[in-house]
Every structure is written in C-alpha cells, then in structure tokens.
C-alpha cells in the first residue's frame, strides 16, 4: 500500500467494483448457458458472489492506514472546520504567524552567532590570552612582546601561541593608494586556527618571518577580488604596504576573517596578513600592544590552562616586579571572545521573543476555548455516537497542530521579512549578517516551535472538549445559561497571564527606551553637527622627520581651510567616539615623586591648532595652541577640566607644570589652558582626565582630520580627497565619516536592542488587546440571554455594561498586578544594559501599568458596546 494508493482510494474502489461487476456478468452468462432465465441467472450470480458492499468494504479496509488514516481524516475535517470558521482561523493564524515569525527571526540571529560552529577547525581549542590589569579590573588587556615571549617559552598548556597586531597600512601601486586594514601575525597564526589558504599557502614558521628581507603577505579573498581582479597568477606578485615590498604567498578562502576588536589599534577587519617578527629591540619591550592566541594541548581544560598560566604569571612577576606588578593573566575561549558581548543581548531578545510566543499561544488558546464552547454540540454528538475521549482529544489537537503548522509556515515567511528588517537596522559588526540565513536549523526550529505552540494552545481546549458530558449540551436551552465554570476559569487564567507577560515586555521596553533617551541626551562635550572626520596615516618609510610631518599637516589643513564651505579645520590624534586613546601616568612638579603604579592616570592626545574651536569644546581658562606650536614642540599642554580638578583642586592650574610620561625623555609640560571635558569613549562612559599636546610633541604617524562645514559635511568628501592627493599623490585618507555618524554608531547597539524590544512590546500589547477584547466580547455573547433577562427585569443598561466591563477589568488588573511582580524580578537582568536608570524605575512602572490599564479598558469598552444593542424582547423570544 503506497501513499499514492492512499490518495487514489476512490479510483481503486471503482476498479474493485468493476472487477466484481465483470465476475457477475461472466457468471450470469454462464448461468444463462446452463439454461436459466436472465433474471434468475443474475440472481444466482449474486448469491454465488456474496454481498458486494461487504466485499468492497473488506477490500478498502485493507487499504486504510490505521493511525495515519484517522489523522488524515482529522486533518481534512480540521481544514473544513477552519474554512467554516474563517474569522477564528484568520485571527489565530495571524497571531501565530507573528509569534513564530518573530521567534524564527531572532533564532536565525542566535543560530548564526551562538550555535553554528566558528569557521575555524580548531576553534574549540583556541583561546585568547590577555593580561589582567588588577588596579582597574581590565580583564582583557593586550600584552607586551617581552611577556608574550615569556609565555610562549615557559607555558606547559599550549601547543602553540601566536601574537597578533591589527594595524592599518597603505597599499600603494594601484591607481590611487588605499588605506587598508592589515594584521601582523606570528607565522603559526593560521595553523593555530587550523585554516588553510584557498590559493597558494599560509605562512610557514620555518620559511616566513625569520628575516626582514623576505616579507610574505596573505590576502583575503575580498582584497584579491577587489584589488587583483581575482588574478589566478597573483602568487609571487610584489605588493607595497607602507612603502615596503611584500610577496603574495596565498589567498584565504572566501569569507575568512579573524578580528578581535578588544584593544585593537585598528577598528576594522584585517584584509591582508603579514608576518610579525620580533626584532632584537622589540623582544625586550614592555609596551603592551599585542593580542595573543593559543592552541590548548589536547586534553587540557580551560580551567587547568588558566591555573597553569596564573602560576606562570606570578613567577614572571617575581622575576620582574617593575613591569609585571599588578598584572595577571586571563584566558578567554575564542567563541566567548567573538560573541561574548552580543550573547547577553541575544539571550535577552530570545527571552522577550519567547514571551511574545507565549502571549500568542495564550491568545489562540483563548479563542479556541471560546470556539470550543460553541462546538460542544458537535463534540457531544460525536461522543454520543461512540467516539472515545481519546479520539476527541486527538481530533482537537490535530486541528490545533494544523493551525500551528499553517501559522508556522506563515511565520517562517514573516520571519524572512523580519530578518531583512533586522539586517537593515542592525549596526555593523554586531551580528554576522552574512552568516544569517534561513537554513535547515532555522526550519527545524520553526517546525519545533510550531509543534510546541500547537500543543500549548491546543491541550487545554482538547482536555476541555473531552470532558464534555454528551448528554448535557444536547439538551436544548441549557447552552446559554450554563457555561462551564472550569472552562471559564481556564480562559480567565490565560487572559491574566497574557496581560502579565505583556506588561513584563512593556516594562522592559519602557526601561530600555527611557535609558536610551537619557543616553542620547548626554552632552558629549563637543558639537558633533557639521563635522567631517577623516583618518590620515603616513607610511612608515616616508615622512620620517617630525618637521616633514608637521609641515604636511600644516599645509594640508591650510588647503582644507581654503575649500569653500569649510568653516574651520584641525586634527586630533585620538578622535572621540573612534575607539582608542593613549593613557599614561603623570607627576606634578614639586610634589613627592610617586611610584609608577600610584601615579594618577590621564588620557593623552595630540591636536593641531583650532582643534577645540573646530569641535566646539569650550575653553574654560587660559589659551589653546597657536600656529607656531604646530611646527615646534614647546612643552605646553592644554588640559581638560577634570584633569585640572584632579591635580589642582580649587586652584588655578595655569602655568603649573606636570610630567606626562609618554616620551623617551620626559620633562615637565606647562599648562597653558583648560578646556571642557569630552566623553571620549562613548556617551555612557565616564569622563577621563585628558591632556592635549600640540602635534610636534609626539609626531604620530596618524591623525584624524576634523573639519567644520557650513552645509552637509558629506558634500565636502570629493573636495577633501582631491586636496589630499594634490599635496601628496601617494597619501590616501580613510574612514571619511561625519562626526554625527560616529556618535550615532556609538549608540547603535543600544538603539538596536531598544528598537527590537519596542517592536516586541508593541506586538505583545496588540496581542493582549485582542485577548482582552476577545474574552469580554465572548462573555457578552455567552451572556446575551442573561443580560436580556436582567434588562427585561428592569436592570439599567449602564449598570449591566458596568457589570460585564468590571469583570474584564478585574482580569486585566490581576494580570497587571502579576506582571508588576514578575517585572520586579525580571528587569534586574537588564541592570547592566540600562544607563542611569534603575531596573525598578517607579515612573516606568507607573506609566506602563497605567497605559496598559487604559488600553485594556478601551478594548473592554469596545467589546461591551454591543450590549447596548441587545433587545430584551428579542432575546426572550428566542428562548
């Protein structure tokens, strides 16, 4: 018996009937030959054959599938029922599609970020090795060449260890030079990850990186396509990075990337890898700037490795307390490193979207229960005709599952749309957009969620249906007056929980929104509007002398200032909101000399003249740098207000002298001005005391241009590029973005989380409204007779409305009360995300609860409006 056969039952039955008819004809003919009359012959043939209907029944019974057969029957019946009750079906399907769709979309993100294996074969054994700075608890600090080499040499838990330095270099040789993200890595970097090149080879420790003369480079697939036009003969090509020649030895597979942003000098994914070599001078350096990864020996657990590295760290501290005091070591598995910060937010979203699904299920269950009451008649007849309770439960559950899977299918489609919306509003680098796809994982998830929800919202109505005593509903007239109490109770519990869950979501979203409002209302300390920024970095080989660099910038800034539409222009070493800044200890002249570990810590940046004016950072006292200071290091320093308060509280800092330990030969600098504080690391971050030197003091290889424009800063970009190339045709600029974009990118994650939560909360409130409206209007419908009688007996219409409405409101009130209790427990989980708002923020609770009550009242009012159209006489006449 095949499936095909199952669906061809009618044809098969017809065939069997034909066959029997053929027998009858033949037998009849033979009987006639034997001398019977035609009628007698036919009769005898029938007697010989037996009951045709029974034979056909016997045959077709063989074709039935047992359980499958009844499921098929149930399904067909279910479809007929859904088509009959279209309103119910459409509302249920929509509700489910929203619930399942939202879950599918979020799961897709979770799958891409947290579940799918990392694209590195050795990912499970790969860990990041950080230094742990004890005084301020920075657990993921980059390490120094000296420490890295000690670790590499003395550890007992790693097979291999590699150093990584994410950099930015100029790739020249093409039409225009390009600033490109690069990484210098130990030659064994790729073998630690367990990846190989798509073309050519990755670095080989024995071959690459031993000498400075034979430099090898590995390209990303994307750079190979973009820059080398996917040239298959790219191997052996010479490329120029920062004016130094490199030989291409390999191209990585499409999509390969490795980038850990934590304390990385560059904020972009590297696209070209070169080998990191320790020169004799750098080997002993204690400057911390390297990231380190290690491949755990097979069988070594993370805890064992952490323990072993800790004891190694204390040995190193004993050997060299000056550099290693207050520093410990911290191992982080690669996966947590790459997904750690997103994971928490995602779990939050997953919880929220799970709640949306619960509400959706509660809603459909309520609808189902309401409908079940009207179906009691049908079910009673079926049970009276011999259907077992089990059979009825199965029928109702089949219908639920049918609904759930149709809803799931629609949800899968909706999830696809949601995913596209998510992709369009998600900030860059937050989630791996390219890894997000609706694959088998996601489909299985949507299927499982559908099955679960079908069961969730189907089980209560199913049990309810099975408990139907056949006789009761069949007695006419008893339907309206006696609605089962337990049935009503189940519905009421569902509505109460629905309102409670919706409130939790609303309060969560409310807290996030208020937190976000406070965050974006924070004054960054400068005016971000009408500012264009651009990154300029010199190749190491050119502009060796400080004068050349100063000259370059002075000339460049003058040319930019001459562009029409430019109000002022300057440059900053470490732009606010761009990520990194240098920090160091300071020593005020004339005070007792402090050991390094006890010195006050300040941020240090380099600026060109007019910087504070251009960015709109207020000058509080003294002066800012003048033009001559752009060419010559004078030992003058401008400090931020908080630095002034930290070092000279209540006194005038102008003319005071302080040593900032950042040069080879450190001499005291003279304070010439005090400026306002800037939230350098982001709006939510605390202000750090900051010292600004003029550019020649340190002569960085890189600066960020800041240009204030009259109109849209973006309109200036072509002119800016032209100006730079006019001064040096080999000098690219990169990261050309308006300051406002940087500002909005800095809050993009928070905005994203807030938007998604707000969307879920809106869905939740919508579903809750449908739920409240549904139950009250059902109540009204069921009680039409009672209400009619009450009104016929003289009850006022308004008091009846009041009565019914207050019943609904008691449920909403209960739901809100439970919701508040649940929120108090759950919003604490938001604590670390919220900015300057407590998880139990009373205004949020009051506003949200009040709002939900109002909305519930409106939904209830809409539902009871129909009471006013009840005509007592017509109700009574119906009886």
């Amino acid at each position: 018996m095949s499936f095909k056969g199952l669906f061809q039952r009618r044809a098969r039955r017809h065939e069997s009937a034909l066959e029997l008819e053929a027998y009858l004809q033949r037998e009849t003919e033979e009987n006639i030959e034997r001398g019977m009359s035609p009628a007698e012959a036919r009769r005898a043939a029938h007697i010989k054959l037996g009951n045709v209907a029974n034979i056909l029944g016997d045959i077709s019974q063989q074709d039935s599938f047992g359980l499958f057969e009844t499921v098929w029957q149930d399904l067909r019946f279910g479809i007929r029922m859904l088509l009959k009750h279209r309103g119910f079906a459409i509302i249920s399907l929509l509700t489910l599609a929203i619930g399942i769709g939202a879950n599918t979309a979020i799961f897709t993100v979770v799958d891409a970020t947290l579940i799918r294996p990392l694209p590195y074969p050795n990912a499970n054994r790969t860990v990041m090795i950080w230094e742990h700075r004890l005084p301020d608890g920075e657990r993921q600090n980059v390490t120094s060449p000296a420490t890295f080499l000690n670790w590499q040499h003395d550890n007992t838990v790693f097979d291999q260890m590699a150093a990584i330095f994410n950099d930015s270099s100029i790739l020249s040789g093409g039409d225009t030079p390009e600033q490109i993200a690069t990484a210098s890595v130990s030659p064994n970097f790729f073998s630690i990850l367990g990846v190989n090149a798509a073309i050519g080879r990755v670095f080989v420790p024995a071959q690459d990186g031993n000498t400075d003369s034979n430099r090898a480079a590995v390209l990303s697939f994307e750079v190979w396509q973009r820059h080398f036009a996917s040239d298959p003969n790219v191997l052996g090509t010479q490329i120029t990075l920062d004016d130094k020649p490199y030989t291409v030895v390999g191209v990585m597979p499409r999509g390969f990337q490795f980038f850990v942003k934590q304390q990385s000098f560059s904020s972009k994914k590297p696209e070209i890898w070169t080998t990191w070599t320790f020169s004799p001078e750098t080997r002993a350096s204690h400057g911390r700037f390297l990231q380190a990864i290690g491949l755990l020996r097979p069988g070594v657990t993370l805890a064992q490795a952490q323990q072993s590295m800790l004891s190694l760290a204390s040995r190193l501290e004993a050997q060299d307390p000056a550099s290693m005091k207050n520093w410990s070591v911290n191992l982080v598995p690669l996966r947590s490193q790459l997904t750690g910060e997103v994971a928490q937010g995602l779990r939050l979203l997953l919880a929220a979207v799970g709640m949306v699904l619960l509400i959706a299920c509660a809603n459909v269950a309520t609808l189902n229960l309401a409908r079940a009451s009207t179906r009691r008649h049908e079910i009673a007849i079926r049970m009276a005709l011999g259907a077992s309770a089990k059979r009825v439960v199965r029928q109702v559950l089949t219908e639920s599952c049918l609904l759930a899977f149709t809803g799931g299918l629609a949800g899968f489609g909706l999830g696809y749309l949601c995913l596209n919306v998510l992709k369009s509003i998600a900030p860059a680098n937050l989630i791996p957009l390219e890894a997000m796809r609706l694959d088998f994982h996601v489909f299985a998830f949507a299927f499982a969620v559908s099955l679960l929800s079908g069961f969730l919202f189907g089980i209560i109505p199913a049990i309810d249906a099975a408990r139907t005593a056949p006789r009761e509903p069949l007695q006419e007239g008893s339907t309206a007056a006696r609605t089962g109490d337990s049935r009503g109770l189940a519905r009421r519990i569902l509505v109460v929980s629905e309102v409670a869950i919706a409130l939790v979501l609303l309060i969560g979203a409310g807290l996030l929104i208020r937190s976000f409002q406070r965050l974006v209302a924070v004054d960054p300390g400068f005016r971000a509007d009408h500012i264009l920024t651009a990154w300029v970095q010199f190749p190491n080989a050119r502009y060796q002398k400080d004068e050349q660099k100063s000259q370059f910038f002075a000339q460049l800034l003058d040319s930019i200032r001459a562009i029409p539409g430019v109000r002022s222009a300057s440059a900053d070493g470490f732009l606010p909101f761009a990520g990194i800044i240098a920090g160091t200890g300071v020593q005020v002249e004339g005070r007792p000399i402090l050991p390094i570990s006890q010195q006050p810590d300040v941020n240090v940046s380099l600026v060109e003249p007019q910087f504070f004016e251009t960015l709109g950072i207020p000058l509080i006292s003294g002066r800012t740098f003048n033009r001559s200071e752009a060419f010559q290091a004078t030992g003058n320093v401008v400090i931020s207000q908080s630095m002034a308060q930290m070092l000279w509280p209540g006194k005038n800092p102008l003319g005071k002298r302080v040593t900032i330990y950042m040069k080879r030969n450190n001499t005291p600098s003279t304070v010439i001005g005090v400026v306002g504080d800037v939230k350098h690391a982001g709006l939510a971050s605390p202000v750090k005391p900051t010292a600004y030197w003029s550019y020649p003091e340190l002569g960085f290889q890189f600066m960020t241009l800041v240009i204030r424009t009259d109109g849209d800063p973006r309109a200036l970009i072509p002119d800016l590029r032209q100006t730079v190339l006019r001064i040096d045709k080999n000098q690219p600029i990169a990261d050309v973005v308006p300051m406002e974009t940087l500002l909005s990118m800095s809050v993009a994650r928070t905005r994203f989380a807030t938007q998604v939560m707000a969307a879920f909360a809106s869905v939740a409130i919508l579903l809750a409204i449908i739920g409240i409206y549904g139950i009250i209007s059902y109540d009204v419908e069921q009680r039409t007779r009672e209400i009619g009688i009450r009104m016929a007996l003289g009850a006022q219409r308004n008091s009846v409305i009041h009565l019914v409405l207050s019943r609904g409101m008691v449920l909403s009130g209960l739901g809100i009360a439970f919701g508040i209790v649940a929120s108090l427990a759950l919003t604490r989980l938001l604590g670390s995300i919220l900015y300057e708002i407590r998880p139990n923020d009373p205004p949020t609770f009051v506003i949200v609860s009040g709002g939900l009550t109002t909305v519930a009242l409106c939904a209830g009012y809409l539902a009871v409006r129909r009471i006013s159209s009840i005509e007592p006489m017509s109700v009574l006449r119906r009886e």
Partner: protein, 117 residues
C-alpha cells in the same frame, strides 16, 4: 463518524488456506477472478464451497503483499477483465507455504491417528 482502523491481519487457517489455493491456481498461468474461483471450486471436487466474493479481498491482500500482480486485459469473450499473475515473490511464498501446509497436515494427522509402531 470516522471509521475504526482496520484490525491487524491474522493468518487464520481459512485465510491462509485460501491464499495457498489462489497462489497454487496462478502457478498454471494468469487468470481473472471468475476463473480462479471456479478452478478452486472444481479442483477441490466442489468440497471447498466458499463464497466467491471472499476471493476478492484475498486477491487484493496478496497483491498488496507483492505476491501477485494484476492488469486489465480482454477476457475470453472480449470483455475487460482483471488478470492476476504470480510474481517471483509469490512463487517463493507458495513453496514456503506449501511445505508449512504439509507440516501442518502431518501434525494434525499425527494427533488424529497416532502412529502405530
């Protein structure tokens, strides 16, 4: 009301016997239902007087099990008739069932007429 599920097939004596007889008949060549019924009736010297109708569910069952196959073709007097044919699997089943039948007959005989030494 949905119909109850079909009971599991039980190889009761008569059913097994009928199957055996049908397979045996088809060993001679393809035949349609009417012929099979009359051949069985005739060859058993009219002892096995089954309702011819019970043959058809049996044919259906044997076909579902793959022991026989069927096709529509012209009968002797040029009417459309369904012809059944023994399959290779059916042939094997016939051998198996025949030997089991022999065993059964011997066993029953031993019970009915104990062997005398």
């Amino acid at each position: 009301m949905p119909k109850r599920a079909a009971p599991p097939l039980e190889a009761d004596l008569l059913q097994g016997t009928l199957d055996l007889l049908i397979l045996q008949t088809l060993l001679l060549g393809p035949a349609h239902g009417h012929t099979i019924a009359h051949v069985i009736e005739h060859r058993s010297d009219e002892v096995l007087q089954v309702e011819h109708g019970s043959l058809y569910p049996a044919l259906h069952r044997l076909q579902n099990r793959g022991w026989i196959s069927s096709e529509w073709g012209p009968s002797e007097n040029n009417r459309k008739a369904r012809f059944y044919r023994l399959t290779a699997a059916g042939r094997k089943q016939l051998t198996r069932q025949t030997s089991r039948w022999d065993e059964l007959v011997r066993a029953v005989n031993r019970v009915l007429k104990p062997v005398r030494e």
